[in-house]
Amino acid sequence: MQGNNEPKSFYESGGPHKGILSWIFTTDHKRIGLLYLASLFIFFIVGAAFGLLMRLELIAPGKTIVTASTYNSFFTLHGVIMIFLFIIPGIPVSLGNFFLPLQIGARDVAFPRINLLSWWLYMTGGILALMSLFTGDGPPDTGWTFYAPYSIRTGTNVSLAVFAAFILGFSSILTGLNFVTTVHRLRAPGMSWFRMPLFVWSLYATAWVQVLATPILGITLLLIIIERFFGVGFFDPSKGGDPLLYQHLFWIYSHPAVYIMIVPAMGVVTEIIPVFARRTIFGYKAIAFSSIGIAAVGFFVWGHHMFTSGISDTSKAIFSLLTFLVAIPSGIKVFNWVASLYKGSIKVDTPLLFVISFVFLFCIGGLTGLINGTLATNIHIHGTHFIVAHFHYVMFGGTAFAFFAGLHYWFPKIFGRMYSEARAKFAWFFLFIGFNILYFPMFILGWQGMPRRYYDYLPMFHELNLISTIGSWILAAGLILMFINLVRSIKKGERAESNPWKGTTLEWTVPSPPPVENFEEIPVVTQGPYKYE
């Protein structure tokens, strides 16, 4: 205990190690959160670079900058990096690690050393994934889905990339396990389940999905490796295997994984709205239960990725029906968010600006999801650019915009400094405009019939592809402006007080940046999280 002295911030006391070692061997959840944050955005920049190169290739039909096989590696690596290294770990490992203990009044997560192990596994997986680029017989070219039997037969370095994803799976499982235990065991006295902030609820629901679904991915990827090295016929029909089995196994994980990506983002959004509207959240329980509902029903809808794959028509009908049911809790959340603005006292600072654009973009992503979930229309747009547009609206317009909202919202708490509000809004403008110019044309391209993962396309698709590529440059400019503003403000921003936004959750009761032990004394909670009376 620090006694009467002002406690040192977690930047100043790094435990037994010095310098870089005080970071990579830390067990402080805040330092681990920042380690993750830095690594996530390094991988994000690599993934975004591949995305920009893809768009550049597609600026005109025919060969523009690279060959077909290089392009195929670009979209594979863009997908693998963005999905496994950025958006799945994403919000939980960075903002979640940093704020989960703070929001429930704990000094750390339940298993601090396992938390560090998760980061090491994450880095090992990430480095292996990048190594698969430069070793073996060329970078993997299967797409992030590794569909068999192509992934069994291709001569490229698929095994290493698959092994990387396998390792990353363990990182995800351990984080999930840690968070479930933390929420169950380490809540401050008086913090009952329904006094938890809704960000915590969303992390809790996500953590269960991570623990239950990820092992299936691990097994599936292992089977790919065994089949590639030892020729055991699990998935390749020429060896007696079944390629549809692979797709089932893959999507049994990868569809719930979609909710690992979006549910924490919804939690961030729910956290920001009451603070900037200075009023309580509308429908606390509905939002909490909808997180659990999405996580639970999300396990039973994987078949909608396989509507044209050759599974039976009866199972398609059942999966379509279940898919519509999972749309309802997402709808409930959107209505509650909008209602939480009613009769508030609203100030549109950057975090809320990102949140409002999140709601708009997420609605476009979600509503076009209805077209995907409907059998008749799915057949036409399945595997086209319509799908590419849809999931970028949900994942980038949704999750990444919420992530950016959270970064700005918690920036003063994490770094003890404010970012420049004017520059942040300027960057937002480029992000929002660029995003829509980049991805909206893909809806039309897909409806017109342009399949995804196409290196070359018919001349009729040229104009919209050109517009989309121009959008990618605007979006890139927005990202650069945003990162420059944030990174610059870490050192040069104005000093932030402990509660600049007048938030009501526990993280705002401690100094900015927080001390090593978070709370000098563990707080006793007597009311719900968003009390503005």
Partner: protein
């Protein structure tokens, strides 16, 4: 509501959902912006804490549930129509392979394009010779994967004459985006004369080598004019010395009949230096006769 055509069926369902989606998007966005402006901190310094409203919450659970169930049902009935091929449909076997399509008619005629008579329903029996492909005809809003070792199907009513694009919709390797073909819808009379002319031809003279190369999909990767494609060019190949990699070691071979035959049947045995091992073995795709026909043609291709 469901007419006799997959295009209209899908378009109608699409419009139904699109209208609901646009109404929802505009109302949500408008309400959100209206609140942000109306309850701005300057105008409204004192917020009101409304925690919930049961009626409102029930409404926005029940109404969307009804809407999505309607979408499901409408989409499902359209889908049932799309999955119920008429009895009188003409059957064509479609086989995907890296990276071309082969359509085989009931009389044995094979072609790389899908030629169908106007106004007669067509049922496609789809499979793949290697990896998973997807048979996609955007104009008729239909798509189904071609899965090796399995038969899937599609049907459509070609009720408009003309040429329509046919794509591969499931990623299948290097040349995925050039696995493009056409659906050619022609009047029954024209179709019959094309169809029977082929039938007469069948069994008489052997098809020429160049035609086989086209039909078997060889020309998707190999050229006959010396240009380098995914694989080495056929031009001047016969009788030349070729550097190949076999078992990780380089060696020089003489491109004679035996070498060409081995390269067709076991392409992975000797990989020409500078190329990758991606060609599928052709043992199921070609007969002995066809192989010698092709080799005879290659001999002449100086």
């Amino acid at each position: 509501m469901i007419s006799g055509n997959s295009t209209e069926t899908v378009n109608n369902v699409f419009l139904f959902i699109l209208v609901i989606a646009i109404v929802l998007l505009i109302s949500i966005t408008f309400t959100m912006i209206y609140f942000v402006v109306k309850y701005n901190r300057k105008n409204n310094p004192a917020p009101e804490n409304i925690e919930s409203n049961l009626m409102l919450e029930i409404t926005w659970i029940v109404v969307p549930t009804i809407l999505v169930l309607a979408m499901f049902y409408y989409g499902w009935s359209g889908f049932r129509f799309m999955r119920t091929a008429p009895e009188n449909a003409m059957t064509v076997k479609a086989t995907g392979r890296m990276w071309s399509w082969q359509f085989e008619y009931e009389n044995g005629r094979k072609d790389a394009e899908l030629r169908v008579p106007l106004g007669k329903p067509v049922k496609l029996l789809i499979t793949s010779a290697d990896v998973i492909h997807g048979l996609y005809i955007p104009a008729f809003r239909i798509k189904e994967d071609a899965v090796p070792g399995m038969q899937t199907f599609l049907w459509f009513l070609p009720d408009r004459a003309g040429e329509y694009d046919l794509f591969c919709s499931e990623y299948c390797g290097t040349q995925h985006s050039s696995m493009v073909s056409k659906v050619i819808v022609i009047p029954q009379k024209d179709f019959d004369s094309w169809y029977t002319a082929v039938a007469v031809k069948k069994g008489s003279a052997h098809p020429q080598g160049v035609k086989l190369l086209e039909e078997k999909g060889c020309l998707d990767c190999h050229t006959t004019d010396g240009a380098i494609g995914v694989g080495p060019s056929f031009k001047g190949l016969f009788g030349r010395r070729v550097i190949v990699i076999a078992g990780g070691k380089e060696r020089e071979v003489f491109a004679d009949e035996a070498y060409l035959k081995k390269s067709i049947l076991h392409p992975g045995a000797d990989i020409v230096n500078g190329f990758t091992d991606i060609m599928p073995p052709q043992s199921d795709n070609m007969s002995e006769e066809e192989i010698s026909e092709i080799i005879n043609y290659l001999k002449e291709l100086k």
